[in-house]
C-alpha cells in the first residue's frame, strides 16, 4: 500500500496504524514486528520520539527503538539478541542486519515494513540497495506487508510499482491549503554572482526575530556555516540560533534536534540533512537561502512550516544573486500552477548489486538461480539479464577478469550441491566495513585539543596552510597542523574567515525551472513585476550583449584575464552543460584553439581557451553528439569520477573511514589509475559497464543535450564583446574559485607555461 500526502497530513502515524491494531490484538511476540525505514538518521530518531505519544496514549504493550550507524554497539548487540517490536532504521542498517547468519530468524515474524519518504529512493543508489533488500525480506518474511509513505508526485503508478510489483492500494490525501511563498524584498544591492546572501542577512534576521520559530534552509554546508556565523554577529536580541549539517559531530546534531523538538530554539540553519519529514509543529516560518532548484524540493522544505493541514505554510525565498532571483520567481509561478517536477526512476547499479550479492553470501549459502529470481523482482533490476547477473557474481567471486588469477583468494566458493558460500567467514568483516552506497570524499576529523568537532573533506584541508582560518560548526577556527590524520585547530581571535569550499549538496536544477527562467528573461513584458535592480541588470545585459529567449541561443565570446571565453546560454541544466563542455573542449582542441577548461551552471557553459574561435556554429553543430561523443565517452574523466564511487560501492577497493591513518606515506593507489589499467586491458569489464550505464542516466544527460542542440541549430546569436557581460560574471567567478584540473588539457597548459617563461627570458635579454 502506498500513501501520498502533503507534509503535515500525519502520514507517518497513518503508516503505523496497522501495526498498532495488529499488536493490540495479538500482543507482542518478543520478535521484530514492524520495521520502519527512513532515508535519514535524523528522521528515524524523530519518528521514534513522536511515536511515543500515541503508543503511551493507547497504552500499547510495545517496545520501540532506533538502530542507525550512530547506535552504540552494546545496544546493537542487545537488539540482535532481544529485538524490539518496532525498529526504526535506515537502508544501510537494514543491509547490515540482513548480512548476519541469523537474519532468517531475526525477521521471521515480521508483519509490516514501513518506508517513509519513499520518493527519496527512486533515483539513486540507496534506493537500488533498499529495493534489493526489500526482496531479501520478501524471501525471509513473505507475510510482511509493505507500506510506502510519499510526498505527492507526478507518477504515482510508477511509485507503486517500485514498492510492490504485484499491485497495491493507493491512498491520496490532497493539499488542503496552498502555501504562501514570498521572495525577500531588499533595498540592498543583490550581487551579480556569489551564493552567500551576505546582502540580505540583516533582513533575514528581522524575519526570524518576528517569527515564533524558523528554519533557514541552505543548499550547501559552506552556506550553512556562513549564514549561521553572520546571524550571530547580527544577534543583538540574543535569539537562540543553531546550525545543523551532515559534517557536524553526531552529538552536536542530536542536541540541536532535541532542542528544536523541545521548543528551545528560535531558529536553526540547516542543509538537506534536515529537510525530509521532521515534524516540528512550532515552526511557523521557513526561509530558503539560495535558489530552490526544484519545485518538489521547495514544497518539501516549505512543508516544514506550520505542520497543520488547515493553515498555509509560510515561506520566504532569499535569492543570493540576480540569476537566482529569476529562479525564485519561476519557482513561485510553477507552484501556483501546481506543476511538480518529474519523478525520475533509474535502472539499478551493478556496483550496488555486487555489494548486495556479497552481503547475501555473508548471511549464508545461496543458489545463483534463486538469487537471480529474487533480484529481478526488484523494479530497478527487473531487466537485468542472467548474463549480467553472472558477470556481477563473477566480479564478487574473484574480480571477474578474463585473466584468471589466484583461486586461493576468491571471496566465494561453490560447494558440491551447487550452493555458493563465503570462502572464509572472516571476509564478512570486509563487507560490513564497506556497506552503503554513499561515497563521501575522504574526510578528516577536526580536533580542538582533545575534542572532536566533526569531519571535513581532505581535499579542503590540503589547501590550508598553518594560520589559515575557516568556518566550522559556527566558529572561526585556525588551522594549526595535521596530527595522527586529524586536523588540529585552535579558536581564532574573531574576524572574518575563509569559507570552507566543501562541495556538499550542490543540487541540479529541474528542467521545468530552467526553461521557466529562460522564458522569463526573454519576455520583456514580464519584467515589470521584477524589482528595479533585476530589471536594470537584464536591460544592461541586453545593452552590452543580447538576451537569450525561447527561440534563440545566445553565445558570447570575450577576452578576460589572458584567456578567451566562449559562453553558451543553453539553459539545459548543469549535467547537460557539463557534457557539452567536454565535447566542445575536444572540438576546440582539434581546431587548434588550445582550450584549457570550462565551467558551468544550470543556465550556461563557459569554455576558455588561449585562442578565440572564429565561429561557433561548428562548435555547437548537432553532429558533435556523434563525432565527439562516442570518442569522448571512451575516455571521459566523468566516468573516472563515477568509477571512484563504483570501485568503493562494489567492494573493489575498501572504503576509507574518517581519521583512518594511511599505512604508508604514499597514497596506496588511486582509483583513476585502476580505471586506466582496466579500460586498456578489459574495456567490457562489468564495472566499466556499470559506470557507463550510471553515467548515461544522469550525469551525462545525453538526451537533454541532443534535444537542445537540435532545437538551436540555425538559431544561434553570437556576440563578440570587448569584456565580460553581466550574466557571464557568475560563471567566470566560478572558474576562478574552482581551479578545475583537466588531465586532457594539462599538457597544453604546461606547454603554455614554458613558452611564457621563454618569452619572459627573451624580454629580459632585450632590456
Amino acid at each position: 500500500m502506498i500513501v501520498f500526502a502533503p507534509t503535515g497530513a500525519g502520514k507517518t502515524l497513518a503508516g503505523f496504524l496497522p501495526s498498532f491494531l495488529d499488536i493490540a490484538e495479538r500482543g507482542s511476540t518478543g520478535k521484530l514486528h514492524t520495521l520502519y525505514i527512513s532515508p535519514l538518521k535524523a528522521l528515524a530518531v524523530d519518528v521514534h520520539r513522536n511515536i511515543a505519544t500515541p503508543i503511551e496514549a493507547l497504552d500499547l504493550p510495545v517496545s520501540f527503538e532506533t538502530r542507525t550507524g550512530d547506535t552504540p554497539s552494546s545496544r546493537r548487540q542487545r537488539q540482535k539478541a532481544k529485538p524490539p517490536d518496532f525498529l526504526m532504521t535506515t537502508p544501510e542498517s537494514l543491509a547490515l542486519l540482513l548480512s548476519y547468519d541469523d537474519a532468517g530468524t531475526f525477521f521471521s515474524d515480521l508483519r509490516y515494513i514501513i518506508i517513509d519518504e519513499l520518493h527519496a529512493f527512486f533515483d539513486n543508489k540507496r534506493g537500488d540497495l533498499l529495493s534489493l533488500n526489500l526482496e531479501r525480506l520478501a524471501t525471509l518474511a513473505p507475510q510482511a506487508g509493505r507500506i510506502g509513505l510519499s510526498a505527492t508526485i507526478d507518477k504515482p503508478d510508477a511509485a507503486r510499482d517500485w514498492l510492490c510489483r504485484d499491485g497495491g492500494a493507493m491512498v491520496r490525501v490532497p493539499q488542503a491549503v496552498a502555501p504562501v511563498i514570498d521572495i525577500l524584498q531588499t533595498d540592498n544591492r543583490i550581487p551579480w554572482s556569489g551564493h552567500m546572501a551576505r546582502h540580505a542577512l540583516d533582513e533575514v534576521y528581522a524575519q526570524i526575530e518576528a517569527a515564533r520559530m524558523s528554519v533557514i534552509f541552505v543548499n550547501t554546508r559552506a552556506q550553512a556555516e556562513f549564514v549561521f556565523q553572520r546571524l550571530w554577529q547580527l544577534n543583538e536580541k540574543n535569539l537562540r540560533i543553531a546550525v545543523h549539517h551532515g559534517s557536524l559531530e553526531r552529538e552536536l546534531r542530536r542536541k540541536v534536534e532535541a532542542m528544536m523538538a523541545a521548543g528551545g530554539l528560535d531558529c536553526v540553519v540547516a542543509t538537506s540533512s534536515l529537510d525530509l519529514g521532521l515534524d516540528w509543529a512550532d515552526v511557523d516560518l521557513v526561509i530558503q537561502v539560495g535558489a530552490p532548484k526544484g519545485v518538489s524540493r521547495l514544497l518539501q522544505r516549505v512543508g516544514r512550516a506550520n505542520h497543520r493541514l488547515d493553515e498555509p505554510s509560510r515561506a520566504i525565498l532569499v535569492p543570493t544573486n540576480r540569476f537566482e532571483y529569476l529562479e525564485c520567481v519561476a519557482a513561485q509561478a510553477e507552484i501556483e500552477k501546481n506543476r511538480l517536477d518529474g519523478a525520475a526512476f533509474r535502472r539499478g547499479g551493478f556496483d550496488v548489486l555486487a555489494q548486495h550479492i556479497f552481503g547475501v553470501a555473508c548471511s549464508g549459502p545461496f543458489h545463483a538461480d534463486d538469487l537471480y529470481a529474487e533480484i529481478i523482482r526488484a523494479m530497478p533490476y527487473a531487466d537485468t539479464t542472467r548474463e549480467q547477473f553472472d558477470k556481477v557474481l563473477g566480479f564478487v567471486t574473484d574480480g571477474g577478469y578474463s585473466l584468471k588469477a589466484y583461486p586461493q583468494y576468491n571471496r566465494l566458493a561453490t560447494l558440491k550441491d551447487g550452493s555458493i558460500v563465503l570462502r572464509e567467514a572472516k571476509m564478512a568483516r570486509q563487507y560490513r566495513m564497506n556497506i552503503g552506497t554513499i561515497v563521501e570524499s575522504p574526510m578528516m576529523k577536526v580536533k580542538l585539543r582533545n575534542r572532536t568537532l566533526g569531519s571535513i573533506e581532505e581535499n579542503f584541508v590540503v589547501n590550508l596552510s598553518p594560520g589559515d582560518t575557516f568556518l566550522f560548526g559556527g566558529q572561526v577556527l585556525t588551522f594549526e597542523s595535521i596530527s595522527n590524520a586529524a586536523v588540529m585547530v585552535s579558536k581564532a581571535k574573531g574576524g572574518e574567515a575563509q569559507i570552507p569550499s566543501y562541495g556538499g549538496g550542490r543540487l541540479p536544477l529541474s528542467t521545468n525551472l530552467s526553461f521557466a527562467v529562460r522564458n522569463l528573461i526573454g519576455d520583456r513584458d514580464a519584467w515589470g513585476a521584477l524589482p528595479g535592480q533585476i530589471h536594470d541588470w537584464l536591460a544592461l545585459h541586453d545593452d552590452r550583449s543580447a538576451l537569450p529567449d525561447e527561440k534563440t541561443l545566445l553565445v558570447e565570446i570575450f577576452p578576460h584575464r589572458g584567456r578567451h571565453h566562449t559562453v553558451v546560454y543553453s539553459f539545459a541544466g548543469r549535467n547537460a552543460n557539463q557534457t557539452l563542455g567536454f565535447l566542445m573542449l575536444r572540438r576546440m582542441k582539434r581546431a587548434g584553439l588550445r582550450p584549457l577548461g570550462f565551467s558551468m551552471t544550470d543556465y550556461a557553459l563557459a569554455v576558455w581557451s588561449l585562442d578565440p574561435p572564429d565561429e561557433v556554429e561548428s562548435l555547437l553543430d548537432p553532429d558533435i553528439m556523434t563525432e565527439e561523443f562516442e570518442e569522448w565517452l571512451q575516455d571521459t574523466p566523468l566516468l573516472k569520477r563515477l568509477f571512484r564511487d563504483a570501485a568503493i560501492i562494489s567492494g573493489l577497493v575498501e572504503r576509507r573511514h574518517p581519521g583512518q591513518v594511511k599505512t604508508g606515506r604514499q597514497i596506496l593507489f588511486s582509483s583513476d589509475l585502476i580505471y586506466d589499467v582496466l579500460r586498456r586491458h578489459e574495456p567490457d569489464h562489468i564495472l566499466l559497464q556499470a559506470v557507463r550505464r550510471d553515467a548515461m542516466q544522469g550525469l551525462i544527460d545525453a538526451g537533454r543535450l541532443a534535444d537542445t542542440l537540435q532545437d538551436i541549430a540555425g538559431n544561434i546569436v553570437c556576440r563578440r564583446l570587448d569584456m565580460i557581460s553581466p550574466m557571464a560574471v557568475p560563471l567566470i567567478m566560478q572558474i576562478v574559485r574552482e581551479n578545475t584540473v583537466r588531465s586532457e588539457v594539462g599538457d597544453d597548459l604546461l606547454l603554455d607555461m614554458e613558452e611564457e617563461i621563454i618569452r619572459a627570458a627573451h624580454v629580459e635579454e632585450i632590456h
Binding site: F395, D398, G399, G400, Y401, L403, A405, Y406, Y409, R411, M427, Q430, N463, L464, S465, R561, G562, R563, L596, G597, G651, L652, V653, E654, R665, Q666, I667, L668, F669, S670, L673, I674, D676, V677, L678, R680, H681, E682, H685, I735, V736, N739, T740, V741, R742, G746, D747, L749, L750, L751, D752, M753, E754, E756, I757
Partner: protein, 231 residues
C-alpha cells in the same frame, strides 16, 4: 616522445616522459619503483584490482629501452611490490621480463618494498657508484657525494592561468637527483612534503612528466607555495 636534457654532477642525462632517466655516455637506462604485481598484492585482502599492471609496466619499459637503445639497465629499487611478487607473476609476464633483459646488462639495486628479492640468475647491490655518482634507492642525507635515488615517487602541482595540474616529476637539487616511479599503478608524493625537505632551494629544478613531453617550470622548491597563490 621528446626528452629533455639536463646536466647533473658533470654528466649529461636525458629525462624521459615515462619517468626513465637515460645516461647516454654510459648507455645506461635508469628506472625505479616499478612495483610489479602491486594489484595482485591486494587480492589476499579481497580487493580484486585488475591484474594487468605488471604487463603494462613491462611493455612500457621495453618501449623505452628500444627507443633509447640503452645497452645497460639499472633498476633503482622496488622493482617488485613485495617479496612474494615473483610467485604471483604470470608466466607471460616473466617471459616478457626475461626477453627485455636478454640483450642488456642489468644492475639491480635493492629497495624497501621488494625485500631484496631479485629474479633467479641476478643479484642485488645496496648501492653502486658510477662516474662519481652514487645510485641508491632511498636518498641518504648524510652522504655528501652526488646521488641519484628513487623511492619517494615525487609529484608536483603547477598553477598557471588559474588552473592546476599535478604530475609525477624528476627533482634535481644540489647534488641530488630523484626520479619518479615507473610503475603504472603507483601513487605520488607532493615534492613539497617535509620528507623531501633536503631538496628545497632556489635552484632546485622540477621536470614534470607529460604524455609525450617533459615540462620545465620555473626553478625553485619551497616548503609550501600554497600561501602565495592565495588571492
Amino acid at each position: 616522445m621528446s626528452r629533455k636534457s639536463t646536466e647533473f654532477a658533470g654528466h649529461g642525462f636525458e629525462l624521459h616522459p615515462s619517468g626513465a632517466l637515460f645516461w647516454p655516455a654510459e648507455s645506461l637506462l635508469i628506472v625505479g619503483d616499478l612495483h610489479l604485481e602491486k594489484a595482485s598484492s591486494y587480492h589476499a585482502s579481497g580487493q580484486f584490482l585488475p591484474p594487468y599492471d605488471t604487463g603494462q609496466t613491462l611493455a612500457r619499459l621495453a618501449a623505452v629501452l628500444a627507443e633509447t637503445g640503452a645497452s645497460r639497465l639499472l633498476f633503482l629499487g622496488d622493482v617488485f611490490h613485495d617479496g612474494r611478487a615473483w610467485s604471483r607473476m604470470s608466466d607471460a609476464d616473466k617471459a616478457l621480463l626475461s626477453d627485455l633483459l636478454a640483450p642488456v646488462d642489468s644492475i639491480w639495486v635493492e629497495g624497501n618494498h621488494d625485500q631484496s628479492f631479485v629474479p633467479p640468475g641476478h643479484s642485488a647491490v645496496t648501492e653502486i657508484e658510477i662516474g662519481g655518482i652514487v645510485l641508491r634507492h632511498i636518498m641518504d642525507e648524510a652522504d655528501g657525494r652526488p646521488e641519484i635515488s628513487a623511492h619517494y615517487h615525487p609529484a608536483a602541482v603547477i598553477h598557471h592561468r588559474g588552473s592546476r595540474v599535478r604530475r609525477p616529476c624528476f627533482v634535481r637539487a644540489a647534488g641530488r637527483l630523484i626520479i619518479p616511479a615507473f610503475g603504472v599503478l603507483t601513487g605520488g608524493l607532493d615534492c613539497r612534503d617535509d620528507a623531501l625537505a633536503a631538496l628545497r632551494g632556489r635552484d632546485t629544478q622540477l621536470f614534470l612528466l607529460g604524455k609525450d613531453d617533459v615540462f620545465v617550470p620555473p626553478a625553485g622548491l619551497a616548503a609550501d607555495n600554497r600561501r602565495s597563490r592565495r588571492r
